[in-house]
Amino acid sequence: MSFPLLTATAALPAVGAIVTAAVPAARRTAAKWLALLVSLATLALAVTVLVRFDPDGDRYQLTESRAWIADFGVRYELGVDGIGVALIGLTALLIPFIILAGWHDADPSPSSQLRSSRGGPNETKAPYKWRPTQGFFALILAVEAMVIISFEATDVFLFYIFFEAMLIPMYFLIGGFGDRAHAGSDENASAQRSYAAVKFLLYNLVGGLIMLAAVIGLYVVAGNFSLQEIAEARANGTLDMATNTERLLFLGFFFAFAVKAPLWPLHTWLPNAMGEATAPVAVLITAVVDKVGTFAMLRFCLGLFPEASKWATPVILVLALISIIYGALLAVGQRDIKRLVAYASISHFGFIILGIFVMTSQGQSGATLYMVNHGISTAALMLVAGFLISRRGSRLIADYGGVQKVAPVLAGTFLIGGLATLSLPGLAPFVSEFLVLVGAFARYPVVGIIATVGIVLAALYTLVLYQRTMTGPVKPEVSAMPDLRVRELVVVAPLIALLIGLGVYPKPLTELVNPAVEHTMSDVQKKDPQPEVEAAK
């Protein structure tokens, strides 16, 4: 058997997490460097996966398969298609930036040693033994490991386990490491943070439990958990599901993914979680973890239940449209920078889900590209916003003004992040958004037109945010604000370069994704609508 590359890609950060967590309390910096190195090594492995992957080859490549829980037909099965490779690449790419951006986020703050505001009342009595820095980076690596294996798993049960297990480190990341910039007292912030963390956990747990029921139901119906086997059996007719069974199972899966994604009206955990978490963790949530939800819709919902997916399409499209418009409108109404980005993300997830369920090649390619591009663009915007917030110590938009004058580079990167969010042509998100819109329009013109309204609203919230924070007279509180430091520039510059690069030349990505999308299209047995006129091409 050849080298288990996929296992290694997932296992490396997992091992890294354990080692990082074990670094002695005093060696905080060593832990940071260790985490960074591990994440970079993971990136190298992910690149290897990317290189070894042949877009035009088999549907699932680099497969691994071992018996695991033989009694229940659970196998340790890994394999990637183009979409998975792209998202693994995105994850491995973003984690080093997240680690670098959060370099100082988990340093014990001077106040926390005196009167620790986190960890509950016991900690004031206990001597300061907790190692937040090690924990923070270890948790990030743990999330990375779980996300990567979720993208790789082709066994439904294996996927489910890591899909759910992800919640544990995320819960601690949200609840344990809050944004230091908050309005009000420490106690207030602590209460809000735990509220956000619990809300995150409850929403996702409920989704996960419903999915568990569906997973078990799937086993009862199909007799095993293997994605490939079930899909194959369904395709050649050996596995016949009753219509209602299929629909119920589909709904069970979809609900969990819709919570994770998040789709209106299951979205309210996201603004809380993103608002209260530190900026890098917020990026981790929206750019990495939530992608598992949309990815799983594409792989599991469409792959396992094509008929039910088609059955549910109208409702899902309406919900996606509501997400797009509603998220954008709410973003306009936010007073908190991070919550604004969160609502913008909800709008963008609406686009992704729209692209997946319009079931056209353009829509699904666009949705996949959107996942990658949204990850990069939100990371850029959110991380710069995090740098901004850490300087002023406030998340409220009204507390800023005229930053452009004192910190032009920060303002410039913020603007580019914002422009990416509003899908300016030339930047990567445009490609994906336009593909989704075209894909939607080709099959459901009205849906496409309504979704297009979203791009105006996107401009509105982005520009209002930029105007209120960056332009105008310099507020006294921001007048001494330093511009981006080298570490921060190292974080932002590559992201922006990627945004521009993928905006101008997205071909490598589309070529990676296209064959996978073709497979998905054949799963659901849908053909693209043909143009009315066969123009000479």
Partner: protein, 631 residues
């Protein structure tokens, strides 16, 4: 030769990248670099132009395929350029006027500490605009289209410390985005109808689809054009855009951005030709805007805003002409080019005046400046004569032709449109004369400003006057050069086609009528402003004047309906999200909590209470058993 096309775009793009990413080190040489690259672009354009002239009329189209941009199943978007006569005209205008404005900016922005960045933005604008006119498909055009929007956003909001500038920039971008929705829907429609959105295949296949589809595409394109070219109802951003530095106004208004809409319509001529209803709407929009802009221009005391109104009106002429179909395409473009010269000249002149007057923009505080700024006066004056259509100057030829073409449309529409165009010419003469008189003639009305600095009107430096002079040349001679022997028409005909139409009025009649209204307009303005002293504070004015000062209340409408309504909508949605969507979930949680709290009270810890429940439960069980037995 065709490999040079990419360089046209690449040169200013490189400049933008270097200037914006480069550090302070470039502060001293940055503006030269920017100007040089703009000039390089112009030189390349000229080279390509001469090459093009050397070919036969039908072989002049060049194309360059760079790379495949978005290859997705059934969806091919390429980065490819197409340079034909229409594009060439624009490229020359954009890079030429653009270069002049760069030169002008060297002087105008001399004291601005962020000059390097300004030049970066100018270069970016140039690159985007060139991309727009060079693209060989609608999607790439869309990139340029939005790129222009971005650059104008950056330029209008260049003085970001002024909240009004930042707001104006945002407004411009947003209104343009509304138009962009039209363009993207048009592209989607093309994609679903034709399976492609490259110019060639789409424009060739227009005959194969229904008129309804074409009308839909046409109307969507018109929406896009309205946004970018500041046509009613999306014109509101243009007046506010005057918050930007004056070269920006010149660049946006004269040569480039606002003419993009005209380009789009003329480029998509085949689509509009197949959709007469869409064409009718285009002409109506053009005619309405023509009057709208002119009326607004009459009332404004801010010199730049008056010129902005005039721009709106002139673009209205072009849109009107473009809406006339093959009769008008050529004249739309011709007016566009001549307008590019004289309006750029006028704006640069206005900038020069402001430069000498401590950035004062209120014309009521000018007066008698002709003695202090002779060069500005002369160039501005030539621009003035050109725009009102003084015989022999550029505007005369181009505008006259449009009025003629409007009549040639035929039928009631023709008469109506022609009359509106004539009326517009009269108002143009009126408001331009007003601007001229208030600025350069009459008494000195300037006063020390709040800080006690009395303005010392003076002529601007060479770097500013030379571009004005060059543009003045263009204003004077371009029209004649183009019209003699119908040169321009023959040049563009292979692309746009041309149709003479059958005008109910002879060319001479139209010219005569134009002259008459011209004289009336000038005379009215003279009577009102030349004979009497101009009051420094604006009189209250008639209802129309007051409405026109407020952009005919369109902004107020927007404010009340869109801004205020939007604010209420978002605020109520935030509330809904918090209390309804979140509330349902939290309510479930809270009711669970409440229920468990109530249930918890049952667990009061008294053994006897538990005993009661046990006995009660036992009783119920026995009862159930008995009942089941009984049944």
């Amino acid at each position: 030769m065709e490999n040079l096309i990419a360089l046209l775009v690449a040169a200013p793009l490189l400049g933008a990248a270097v200037l914006l990413c480069g550090g302070r080190a470039l502060d001293r040489a940055g503006h030269w670099l920017g100007t040089l690259l703009a000039a390089a672009s112009f030189v390349i354009a000229v080279v390509l132009f001469t090459d093009m002239l050397g070919k036969g009329a039908e072989e002049r189209t060049l194309s360059q395929h760079l790379f495949s941009w978005i290859p997705v199943e059934g969806f091919q978007a390429d980065v490819a350029f197409q340079l034909d006569q229409l594009s060439m005209t624009f490229v020359l205008l954009i890079s030429g006027v653009g270069t002049l404005i760069h030169v002008y900016s060297i002087g105008y922005m001399e004291h601005d500490e962020r000059r390097r960045r300004f030049f970066g933005y100018l270069n970016l604008f140039l690159a985007a605009m060139l991309l727009l006119v060079l693209a060989d498909n609608y999607l790439l055009l869309y990139v340029g289209w939005e790129g222009v929007g971005l650059a104008s956003y950056l330029l209008i909001g260049f003085w970001q410390h002024k909240p009004s500038a930042a707001t104006a920039a945002k407004k411009a971008f947003l209104v343009n985005r509304v138009g962009d929705v039209g363009l993207s829907i048009a592209i989607m429609l093309m994609f679903t109808t034709f399976g492609t959105f490259a110019f060639g295949p789409v424009l060739e296949a227009t005959g194969q689809t229904s008129e309804g589809k074409l009308t839909a595409i046409g109307l969507m394109l018109l929406l896009a054009a309205c946004g970018k070219s500041a046509q009613v109802p999306l014109q509101s951003w243009l007046g506010d855009a005057m918050e930007g530095p004056t070269p920006v106004s010149a660049l946006i208004h004269a040569a480039t951005m606002v003419t993009a809409g005209v380009y789009l319509i003329v480029r998509s001529g085949a689509i509009f030709n197949g959709a007469p209803d869409a064409q009718l709407v285009v002409t109506i929009v053009g005619a309405v805007t023509l009057l709208f802009g002119a009326i607004v221009g009459c009332a404004k005391d801010d010199i730049k805003k008056a010129l902005a109104g005039s721009t709106m009106s002139q673009i209205g002429y072009m849109i009107l002409a473009a809406g006339l179909g093959p009769i008008g395409y050529v004249f739309a473009i011709m007016h566009l080019v001549t307008h590019g010269f004289f309006k750029a000249g006028l704006f640069l002149g206005a900038g020069s005046v402001m430069h000498g007057m401590n950035d004062e923009v209120d014309m009521r505080k000018y007066g008698g400046l002709r003695k202090y700024m002779p060069v500005t006066f002369v160039t501005f004056g030539l621009g003035y004569l050109a725009i009102i259509g003084f015989p022999g100057l550029s505007g005369f030829f181009s505008k006259d032709k449009i009025i003629e073409a409007a009549f040639a449309k035929g039928g009631t529409e023709g008469w109506l449109l022609g009359s509106v165009a004539l009326l517009g010419a009269a108002i143009t003469a009126y408001y331009m004369t007003r601007v001229m008189i208030m600025t350069f003639f009459g008494d000195k009305r300037w006063q020390p400003d709040a800080d006690g600095h009395a303005p010392h009107p003076h002529e601007s430096p060479k770097s500013m006057t030379i571009p004005m002079i060059v543009l003045a040349f263009g204003s004077v001679f371009a029209g004649g050069f183009f019209s003699i022997g119908d040169r321009f028409m023959h040049w563009l005909e292979p692309v746009t086609r041309h149709d003479h139409g059958n005008s109910p009025l002879s060319a001479a009649t139209v010219t005569g009528a134009t002259m008459v209204v011209l004289v009336i307009g000038v005379a009215l303005a003279y009577v009102q402003y030349g004979r009497r002293p101009v009051p420094v504070t604006a009189p209250r004015g008639s209802l129309l004047t007051r409405a026109a000062r407020r952009d005919l209340l369109q902004d107020d409408f927007n404010h009340v309906v869109l801004v205020r309504g939007g604010e209420h909508l978002t605020r109520s949605l935030v509330y809904v999200d918090h209390s309804l969507v979140d509330g349902v979930v939290n309510g479930t949680a809270a009711s669970m909590g409440g229920l468990s709290g109530r249930l918890r009270k049952l667990q009061n810890g008294y053994a006897r209470s538990y005993a009661v429940s046990m006995f009660g439960g036992a009783a119920v069980l026995i009862a159930a058993t008995l009942l089941m037995r009984a049944v």
